[in-house]
């Protein structure tokens, strides 16, 4: 059943997977909001590592730049402006928690069985290309030009809207 051979890639995959899952679990279970944002940033970094493992360096570093960098800083910035005292912990409901654990285990078992039982057809080996940054750029400005332009318009509208709202409040 566990017919895997341990390679360096395999080990690194597990390290990143642990970081992602650990970050996500801590994000839910921690109490202070700032700690949550930090564990979320850790999960983002783990994801970036996963992209590097998949030969997608461009996506990986954009992930670090946008999510681990900008989004996390903005969230922390917003949180600092407001005051967050540790909210009192909710009363524990034993029955509710036991049922949740059983449900989660069942789902895990089902998924694990389904993945192990299914037969993945070996497709042709994937070639990431000589320069996937160049390839992404060319595709974006030829094949996907319309969605790209539409997204630019959406962002511009959001940007102008934000300025208008900020101006209204200042008056």
């Amino acid at each position: 059943m566990f017919n895997v051979n341990i390679t360096g890639e395999y080990v690194v995959f597990f390290i990143f997977a642990t970081i992602i899952i650990g970050g996500a679990v801590l994000m839910i279970s921690l109490e202070k909001v700032v700690h949550m944002v930090i564990s979320m940033a850790a999960a983002f970094l783990g994801l970036a590592g996963m992209y590097v493992l998949l030969d997608a360096e461009f996506v990986a570093f954009v992930q670090v730049l946008i999510y681990a960098g900008a989004v996390s800083i903005l969230m922390i910035f917003g949180i600092m402006m407001t005051k967050h005292n540790g909210e009192a912990a909710e009363p524990v409901k034993p029955l509710h928690e036991t049922l949740a654990v059983i449900g989660a285990l069942c789902l895990f078992g089902l998924l694990f069985y389904a993945i192990r039982a299914s037969d993945f057809q070996s497709t042709a080996a994937f070639h990431p290309g000589e320069d996937n940054t160049l390839a992404i750029g060319e595709l974006l400005f030829t094949g996907y030009i319309v969605p790209f332009e539409l997204l630019s318009i959406l962002l511009t509208v959001a940007f102008i809207g934000a300025i208008a709202l900020a101006k209204k409040e200042a008056e």
Binding site: G8, K32, V34, H35, I38, A41, E57, F58, F61, V62, V64, L65, A68, G69, A70, S72, I73, L74, I76, F77, M80, D131, N132, T133
Partner: protein, 337 residues
Amino acid sequence: MGAWLNEPLTWGSALILFLWSTVFLLIVLGFVTYAIYYERKVIGWMQLRIGPNRVGPFGLLQTVADIFKLLIKEDTIPRRADRLLFIIAPALAFIPSFTVLAVIPYTEKLYFADLNVGLLYYVALSGITTLAMVLGGWASNNKYALLGGMRSAAQMISYEVPLVISIVGVILLSGSLNLRDIVAAQGGGWFWSWNLFPQIIGFIVFYIAAVSELNRTPFDLPEAESELVAGYHVEYSGFRFAFFMLAEYVYVYAIAALTTVLFLGGWHAPAPFLDFVPGIIWFLLKFAFIVFSLFWIRATFPRVRVDQLMSLGWKVLLPVALLNVFLTALYLELFVK
């Protein structure tokens, strides 16, 4: 280095790479030690003082003594501080500062990583240090530290935008995000084929934004000692404080090296008949000049106000950087294609 990077990883080559990075770390630490000494000397001379001259010959051991003092100092953590974040913030600030150095090519042969998206890697990782500064300021539970952290977040985010957009012109000209290709594209024999001259607007925007990203005078608002005591690291002492300072000076190294690579032609000689001088000498000369100019600016400019800082970033640098991208694209479309 290229030969070791491309062969399959064995324990032997892993050991060699590890030893190389250790040597590199020691070189960077040596640079930081003597950059601080040199900075104090230069600023001293510019202000008609002597600068450090007591510890060792010409005061050469002054920084070593300062670092030793920091290391043996009592390590204090405020009682109401957020202990965990207070402890990890200095490390989180330092690690990216050292990792970004991996993509800088020194000569044709001497480089530590040949990354396809080198420039993006640099910009992305340096953003993590900002996160660490904000966290350090917040975790200290001190109003000055928090104000410093806030200012650093606002300033870093505002200036990262023109910094990145000013580089776009260089990327357009060389057609690659790989720093080695960018240097190779500037080799044409004479110094006017460096990106400095075709991209003079981009260079000016890049340089101003870089000084701001380094939190140095005239943009040292996050740690303005006369307003905020010391900014985000006011509660830090001993080796944790040393780590924040170290990160700051390693970024001086990184930005000076990046400017050399992007705009000053890296290892290329300024004229064809000077080619007999090894590339690393040219790199070091340009690098040293950029480092000196940073100290020079610090000694001669007053600090700007917060509102001036923000309006300079958003109302001047950003439109100018965008204009530069537009002009470069227009030039490429009309004259190159």
